[in-house]
Structures are given as structure tokens and as C-alpha cells.
Amino acid sequence: MITDPPSASIPSATLAQRRRLRRIMRDFHVRAFGEELARVNLLPEPQRKQAVAEMIDHARRHGVKLSRPALGVTP
């Protein structure tokens, strides 16, 4: 079953508040993931996926193993 995201569940949020929420989110991304990843995270989806693909392929070309071990259970 496919559903849309809940709409207007925070009815009291004004446009200005939503803008400030976005700024808080952007600042958190910079603090938690660093400027470069934050920039990638905030790209539109196609560009974001392309940037992630380039990062992953770059790491793999340089020998970084990105596969997790099979454990029989997911952490």
C-alpha cells in the first residue's frame, strides 16, 4: 500500500516557521555530516543520488570495502 506523507499535521507552522525549521535542519547536517555531505544531502534527488554514486565509486576504486558482513541478523 502506498500512502502520501501526512499532510498539514503541523497546522500551526507558518511559512516563516517552516523556513526556520529548514535552516535548523541544514545547520544540523553541516554539524553532523560535514559541509560536503550536507551540501549533497540538500541537493535535489537526481543530483544527490549521482553525487552519492560518485563518492561510493571513488571510495571503492581506492580499495574501501563498503559491504557489511553477513550476520544473520540486522543491527
Binding site: 500500500m1 506523507p5 526556520r20 554514486a53 559491504s67
Partner: protein, 306 residues
């Protein structure tokens, strides 16, 4: 090296095909995080699949080739992709063996720490952000910023349940200045009673306690599963020795036999969910302090489907 974009398209197409055939499933974890705007550098794909459709999904996987290769069960440790074990929270692993590296797929029927039926709230081929964020409450430090980022994303979508996923004192305080958390969410996450979160040190301490609690719970959970995996893995190794296993179907039959003998389908329920929660709370009482107990989240509802 097979480019990541090709891998991602391959897994997206596999899940889309499964959905078109009536198999309820969804991509979660790293690839879902990227979709929702939080870059994760994993090339493996994690998929939630309705346990009742395990046989259909296994057949589809077995017949799906990648660059001319067909998949195998990954390692001796992988439990069978069978409804009985999927309902118990086990993870099945598959790999397409390619020249330089493997393309890996992990499948589970129960979303770890899931509080709702994941299959009722899909975003196309992806699980909902709420499910993905709950799955990020692990015992690995690196996962927590992902939960907070997804929580922010949910608030941005005007979904108040995002408040359940914010694990950063500064983000909590700043968000509450814009829109306070709805009162009813505090029944699941007592820490939200501290809005507007200006008592920063207290908030930080309780966030620490919450994370320690989920971490303890995750460690216990993984330990319970792993205890049972040792005899099962040995049995699969012995049974496969000297045999040329042709593909998924043959390997599945062998694993099923070993699982019936060595792998309890419902190890968490057998152990006792309440017992697990009590042990995790007791441990947090020791590591953080006994006074935080009343501020810990309601974990009982986070074993949906078990």
C-alpha cells in the same frame, strides 16, 4: 567494478518487479536514507519483505541475473528466506558474485524496532522515513545522526512524529522554538515533556540515557540471535562440505533442514520481550543512573510483528 548507479538501479528494479507481482516489499536503511536526503555510503541493499511472501520473493531473486550472474545465499550463516524465520526477525543474505566484488542483498520481514506495520506506509519502492529512522536506533554511534536527520525531514514534511527521532539537544531546542511537540507524543517519549528543552544539561543527560537504552536493547537482541546462529552455521557448513551447490533452490533446501534442527524461528519471543526491556533498563540504571528510568521511551511497542 560495477558502478553504484547500476547496482542501485538493479535493486530498485528488483523491488519494483516484486511489488508489481504482489510481493509487498520496500528498500530501507542506507539506500532509503539517500532517497530521503541523508547520504549514506553503503552499496548493499536492505529490503523489508512481507514474511508471507518469502517464497515468491526468493523465487524472484533466484531468477534475477546481474551481468549474467545469478545469486547465491551469502555465506553459511544466512538463515533461509522462509516465512517462519522471517516472522521471527531473522535476516537472509544473498549475493551476486561478480568479478571484483559481490552485490549484496539483505532481506528481513520484521523492521528492527519498528512500532507500526511498515507495509502500510510505503513511499513507492522505499519504506517510510519513520520506519527507516526507527531502524537507525542501533548500538552503532554512526547511525544516530541519521535518525535525527530523518526526524528533521519528517518535521519538514509536517509530520509531527519527527519529534520521536530527534536525538540532538540543540535541534530539539531550536525546533521547539518554532513549533512545540504535540503533547500526545510524550506518552511514547517522556523526554518531550521537557519542551522547550532549555534545561540543556538535563536534556543532554536524558538523550544519553535514551541512546544507551536503545543501544543496550540492540546489543541484547543481536546477542540472542547470534547465540543460535553458531550451531546453525556449523550445520550448514557440514552439510555443504564437498557438495557443488547449484543455486538458491538447492541451498535453500539444505538451509531449511539445518534451520529446522538448529534455528528457533522466534528467539526474541522465546527469550521474552519484557525480559529484554527490563535488562536494558537495568543496565542503563547502572551506566547512566537509576533516576532516568522513568524518562526512558516506551520500547514495548517497538517489536511490531514479533
Amino acid at each position: 567494478m560495477i558502478p553504484y548507479a547500476e547496482l542501485e538501479n538493479f535493486f530498485a528494479s528488483l523491488v519494483a518487479t516484486a511489488q508489481a507481482r504482489g510481493i509487498t516489499c520496500a528498500i530501507t536503511s542506507g539506500m532509503a536514507c539517500v532517497h530521503f536526503g541523508v547520504a549514506a555510503t553503503t552499496k548493499d541493499c536492505d529490503v523489508l519483505c512481507d514474511a508471507a511472501k518469502s517464497d515468491d520473493f526468493r523465487d524472484l531473486i533466484a531468477s534475477t541475473g546481474l551481468r549474467g550472474r545469478f545469486p547465491i545465499y551469502r555465506g553459511n550463516i544466512s538463515p533461509p528466506l522462509d516465512a517462519r524465520w522471517m516472522r521471527g526477525g531473522w535476516t537472509s543474505h544473498f549475493a551476486w558474485k561478480l568479478k571484483s566484488e559481490d552485490a549484496c542483498l539483505d532481506i528481513f520481514g520484521i523492521a528492527p524496532r519498528g512500532s507500526s506495520p511498515w507495509h502500510q506506509d510505503l513511499r513507492g519502492i522505499y519504506a517510510a522515513p519513520n520506519v527507516v529512522a526507527e531502524m537507525k536506533r542501533t548500538n552503532r554511534d554512526k547511525d544516530w545522526p541519521f535518525a535525527t536527520a530523518l526526524g528533521c525531514q519528517m518535521l519538514d514534511e509536517a509530520n509531527p512524529e519527527g519529534w520521536l527521532h530527534l536525538y540532538d539537544a540543540e535541534v530539539l531546542r531550536l525546533c521547539a522554538k518554532q513549533v512545540p511537540p504535540p503533547d500526545h507524543l510524550a506518552q511514547w517519549r517522556p523526554l518531550l515533556q521537557l519542551a522547550p528543552f532549555t534545561d540543556t544539561l538535563r536534556v543532554k543527560r536524558l538523550l544519553l540515557a535514551e541512546r544507551a537504552f536503545w543501544s543496550e536493547l540492540d546489543e541484547l537482541r543481536v546477542r540472542i540471535y547470534q547465540k543460535h546462529l553458531r550451531p546453525y552455521t556449523s550445520a550448514v557448513r557440514r552439510a555443504s562440505a564437498g557438495r557443488a551447490i547449484a543455486g538458491v533452490a538447492e541451498s535453500h533446501a539444505l538451509r531449511l533442514e539445518c534451520a529446522l534442527a538448529h534455528l528457533p524461528p522466534q528467539p526474541l519471543s522465546d527469550y521474552g520481550l519484557d525480559r529484554m526491556i527490563l535488562e536494558a533498563k537495568t543496565n542503563v540504571g547502572v551506566t547512566v543512573g537509576p533516576d532516568v528510568s522513568e524518562w526512558l521511551p516506551v520500547a514495548e511497542k517497538h517489536f511490531y510483528g514479533l
